[in-house]
Symmetry: C2
Subunit: 214 residues, 2 copies
């Protein structure tokens, strides 16, 4: 499958790398078409990897991953252009973390809104699915780094899109994919980051995740 | 031990009932000394149970539980009076849920603050320990309702106070008590409520909890 990955940071590189390893055709998108990190990634990731501007990656992908920093996501998606994302699944991995007031970060969305909803409002014809934002990048694509049972979440307004994303998550190695409902549930998975940050501090490792016992 | 429980709702009744069952002397506090729910609870809970105004329960307890609704907690604690809580462990079970804008609730604290911190600021000489706010009332005192391993959190500025609260949690049946650090970690456990609400909706039961896989 042709997949666009927006973002050249750790999350973008990790997701794009895993997708390329799994045999997908992956185009990494950056703010500038000639971005050095994207070029270096594409060079190292094999023949099916390529790179370009945000709009190039969005136009290329049948599915598109938003792996940009939360604070830069809306601008990146505007640069990717609405017409390149219309009708497509947009997997939003970003978190609305505000580092401007120091550490630990706060959230720049109020508790009655979320980054996932903002993106869905910005791109009403894209099928936004929030996923993977509750774990560290390395765990996203290699859930086996964390022993035992643990869960990943999807939410979004389109059931078929969520089912498709769940298949991709299974291909990453995830076993438990919990559907939390429509995109407003992103308020929950994004707010969880505030607990994630404290767990990270207490456990002194990012190789952890939560399991829903029931 | 003598324990004061502020609040006559489901959480207050559940916690007070468990503490009385475990052999503690428990005084339930309400806004008015003659509160009917508190009187009915004390009547049914045995000879070691009593009731009174918030200030009576706070003065009575060597340890005090705040089980009032989040939006009413600061007012209740002011009525309990600072001098009755000075030097004591105050276990804050409340959540800053704002139901004024409809369902699902939002949080009335911004992501850079928390109810736990607000209470600690209001009562600088009390030893505030945030605990139990991440599970349903019935699970708080009977963690075995949820099968398998799962965790409860404590945070607060006083290590001894947290150790003491952990002992009470063990007596409730909890096995894994995770110390998240100082009271600012309440930002994490309170924000998690937004995910808890979505899980509740998706699972159609409140008998669930999270386990930290690592």
């Amino acid at each position: 499958m042709k997949i666009g990955v927006l973002g050249t940071g750790t999350v973008g590189e990790t997701i794009a790398g895993k997708l390329a390893l799994l045999g997908h055709d992956v185009k990494m998108g950056a703010r500038e078409a000639g971005n050095e990190k994207a070029a270096a990634w594409a060079k190292g990731a094999g023949q099916r990897a390529s790179h370009g501007a945000f709009a190039d990656a969005a136009a290329f992908g049948e599915i598109v991953f938003n792996c940009t920093m939360g604070a830069a996501s809306l601008e990146a998606l505007r640069a990717a252009r609405e017409e390149n994302l219309r009708g497509k699944i947009l997997v939003d991995v970003s978190n609305p973390l505000d580092f401007s007031k120091g550490m630990p970060p706060t959230l720049f969305t109020p508790s009655g809104d979320s980054q996932g909803e903002q993106i869905q409002r910005e791109l009403p014809e894209a099928k936004v699915v929030k996923a993977l934002n509750t774990v560290n990048a390395s765990v996203m694509v290699e859930p086996g780094r964390v022993p035992g049972e643990h869960d990943v979440f999807v939410c979004g307004n389109d059931a078929e899109a969520k089912a498709h994303v769940a298949e991709i998550l299974w291909s990453f190695g995830w076993k438990n994919v919990v559907d939390l409902g429509d995109i407003t549930a992103a308020r929950g998975t994004e707010a969880y980051l505030l607990l994630w940050l404290r767990l990270w501090g207490a456990l002194q490792t990012a190789d952890f995740n939560i399991h829903i016992a029931r």
